[in-house]
């Protein structure tokens, strides 16, 4: 008996699907139950179903919207910066890397470091009295910016995130750039195309799908940022650096409002899933 391709796909994917269901299914079901229940640490074993009250509470909470706005700004800005820098590095360094492949290993080191470690590292490096950066500012200029003050903290965490994750975008762009057939470039060169025009009209369009995927992944990652911000500055004065993930963490563990935290997590999941579906649909249309 010969199986149809769709049947073959289903059979081949089933072990992974079963594994994911077993691994993620239980916590997801539990989260959904708690999201619709009145639950605290005292009533963890006996949650009381209360319908959509937790969702109403979350949506009426100004701190939730502040966190959503922070995550959106952070996700968009860091994704843009990482893609622009990553693209520049990939194109600029491609000829050099062709001869010296080991450079890739050096350039991707930042993304190997745990984000929480990055936060702690900057906490030390930027400290006015213990950090080398303010030290040299004072040494050379007699003055130093206050990197973690209220006015600068957002820029500082954006830079920290960008420096850590630009290598990810760079790696994707480098692979895409190197995959462009050389004969296209040679034909364009024979026709007298200048390098800048070749980049805009030939290379960049070829890399657009990768650009979209990299930007999308980095946005999702930036939107749900937690570790590096939390270890560097916490939730921020007045909650000014509270991302969606930090909001959920603090609601769950600090305030013990388990139902509300789960409702916020479900909303975050729904939004992320909607964005993912939209992205995939756009990709399909482009193809």
């Amino acid at each position: 008996m010969r199986l149809l391709p769709s049947q073959e796909n289903a059979i081949l994917a089933s072990p992974m699907v079963l594994f994911l269901l077993a691994l993620l299914g239980f916590p997801v079901v539990l989260s959904i139950i708690y999201g619709f229940s009145e639950a605290s640490f005292q009533s963890l074993m006996s949650p009381k179903l209360i319908g959509i009250a937790n969702f109403q509470l979350v949506l009426q909470d100004s701190a939730f919207w502040d966190a959503a706005w922070f995550s959106l700004r952070f996700g968009v800005i860091t994704a843009l910066l990482e893609c622009v820098l990553g693209l520049f590095l990939a194109v600029y360094l491609a000829p050099l890397i062709r001869e010296n492949g080991w450079m890739v290993a050096v350039l991707i080191i930042p993304m190997i470091v745990a984000p929480a470690m990055i936060g702690l590292m900057y906490r030390l490096v930027l400290h006015e009295f213990a950090g080398p950066v303010p030290y040299y500012f004072y040494e050379w200029l007699g003055w130093s910016p206050s990197f973690l003050s209220t006015g600068m903290v957002f820029q500082t965490i954006v830079v920290a995130e960008t420096l850590q994750w630009t290598p990810f975008a760079f790696l994707l762009f480098l692979t895409a750039y190197q995959a462009i057939p050389q004969d296209i470039r040679e034909a364009a060169a024979v026709d007298g195309t200048r390098p800048w025009r070749m980049f805009w009209k030939i290379e960049l369009p070829q890399m657009l799908p990768t650009l979209f995927v990299a930007g999308f992944i980095r946005f999702i990652d930036g939107f749900r940022v937690f570790d590096n911000i939390y270890t560097l500055v916490g939730a921020g004065p007045g909650g000014s650096t509270t991302s969606m993930s930090i909001y959920i963490y603090e609601t769950f563990l600090r305030r013990g409002e388990i139902g509300k935290a789960m409702a916020a997590a479900i909303l975050l999941f729904v939004v992320a899933f909607a964005i993912l579906a939209l992205g995939q649909s756009l990709m399909r249309k482009r193809r």
């Binding site: 640490f41 005292q42 006015e128 009295f129 206050s146 500055v233 939730a235 004065p237 007045g238 909650g239």
Partner: protein
């Protein structure tokens, strides 16, 4: 070769199992500091007692400080039997109380610790823990700087000008023992280069303004000296008071004037200590635990109780201790160990091993030569120590969290004082109802 591997594995397993079986009371302690060393030392003494049954010997369990209380909360709520007794802290007793059982201390506990310290482990009138370590706040100041200021008439005049400009009254430099909070502020302004470019230090003080509950504890000695409290005796929330407003405004004035580093809104214990240790800060209020580090870094440092206010001198106290897990498998063994920990014998051994118990004056004096700092801690705890009304309630931790969010928002300029007061009143009314 195969046989010897099997033999080695079986032997290792047997040794491990024997170890577990011989220690039937498991105690979850506070890891990685002098508290761990002290608890290990007293446990050795306890386990060496000849009349102790094998099944009541104590084994210690340590995890990591990061997220310790979050993990503990989940463990207790899940009815974990992995430990029989566990660490508790003053501000979290109310939250953990449903998963703990009250204990009975030894008859001598009252005279060993004193009532103020014992109250840091009480909730709803019941004793939930034996106090092991006490934390309160000292005023740390550089004596060399104060002495130089007091000896210079030109400096005194400038000090008066600065205090008049920023505080609205002309103040004269004083010995820190006589400081009010306004003297503390005047001193902080005088020793800040943003206010006085000739200051020998870059900042006059360092205030920990990060959105963090522990920073609120450090701050609370100030509003309390103006009469602040969380609730009155009838349970009404009294946070929106002149006392809290005055204290918050004083801290914000110092921040805006540059008397504390601009990064202070991201500072906690370690950052503040680093600032002081660098020799760029003239005076600060900090936990007593920092004393040895700060004095070692700046040998001219002198410690004393925080400044006074219209309602007196206060220092916020909170304690660490050990309580009984309601799901414990060996409750009697754990009760016996906790009761022994509250004896003078155990408290003195704990102190000698590096712990910082809050001891009554008479007990602390027995250690005057070895641990003079404990005499000071005991003295300040007895005379100036306070816990806010509701400070051990179920949601005390959340109250500190909410205050940290609202107060730091005001200091950083992200919201007005009225908004901060309105928000915190609403939060505390909900949390302490």
């Amino acid at each position: 070769m195969m046989l010897s591997r099997k033999f080695l594995c079986s032997t290792a397993l047997a040794v491990l199992l024997t170890g577990t079986a011989s220690a039937e009371v498991t105690v979850l302690g506070w890891p990685g500091g002098p508290e761990e060393a002290a608890l290990r030392a007293v446990t050795e003494i306890y386990n060496a007692k000849t009349d102790l049954a094998q099944e009541d010997k104590v084994e210690l369990l340590f995890t990591s400080r990061d997220g310790f209380f979050d993990k503990l909360q989940v463990d207790l709520a899940a009815g974990s039997t992995a430990f029989d007794a566990n660490l508790i802290a003053t501000y979290s007793i109310g939250r953990y109380a449903p998963f703990l059982e009250p204990i009975t201390l030894s008859d001598e506990a009252g005279s060993v610790f004193g009532d103020t310290v014992l109250s840091t482990m009480q909730f709803d009138g019941a004793q939930y823990g034996v106090p092991t370590d006490l934390s309160l706040h000292f005023l740390y100041f550089r004596k060399d700087l104060i002495d130089a200021l007091m000896a210079d008439d030109t400096a005194k005049s400038l000090y008066g000008d600065i205090s008049e400009k920023y505080l609205g009254e002309r103040l004269a430099p004083k010995n820190p023992e006589e400081w009010t909070w306004r003297d503390f502020a005047a001193n902080a302004l005088y020793f800040s280069q943003s206010v006085n470019p000739d200051s020998p230090t870059r900042y006059g003080t360092v205030i920990q303004m990060k959105n963090l509950l522990f920073n609120m504890m450090v701050f609370h000695s100030l509003p309390r000296s103006y009469g602040a409290n969380w609730m009155d005796d009838d349970g009404n929330i009294t946070v929106d008071s002149e006392a809290y407003r005055t204290a918050l405004e004083l801290a914000k004035m110092l921040y805006d004037a540059g008397a504390t580093p601009p990064d202070s809104t991201s500072y906690e214990y370690a950052e503040a200590n680093a600032a002081y240790s660098a020799g760029q800060v003239a005076a600060m209020v900090q936990w007593n635990a920092a004393a040895s580090d700060l004095v070692a870094a700046q040998p001219e440092t002198v410690t004393q109780a925080p400044p006074t206010g219209p309602d007196g001198r206060f220092t916020h106290i909170h304690g660490l201790g050990l309580g009984l897990n309601a799901a414990a498998e060996n409750k009697e063994g754990a009760r016996a160990f906790l009761q022994w920990l509250s004896t003078q014998e155990a408290a003195l051994a704990y102190a000698r091993s590096g712990g910082a118990p809050g001891l009554a004056t008479a007990t602390a004096e027995k250690l005057a030569d070895e641990r003079p700092d404990l005499v000071q801690v005991g003295d300040y705890a007895s005379n100036y120590g306070f816990v806010m009304n509701g400070g051990t309630s179920e949601n005390a931790l959340s109250v500190y969290e909410a205050q940290a969010k609202e107060f730091t928002g005001y200091w950083a300029g992200t919201q007005s004082l009225d908004d901060a007061m309105s928000n915190i009143s609403a939060s505390m009314t909900e949390l302490l109802k």
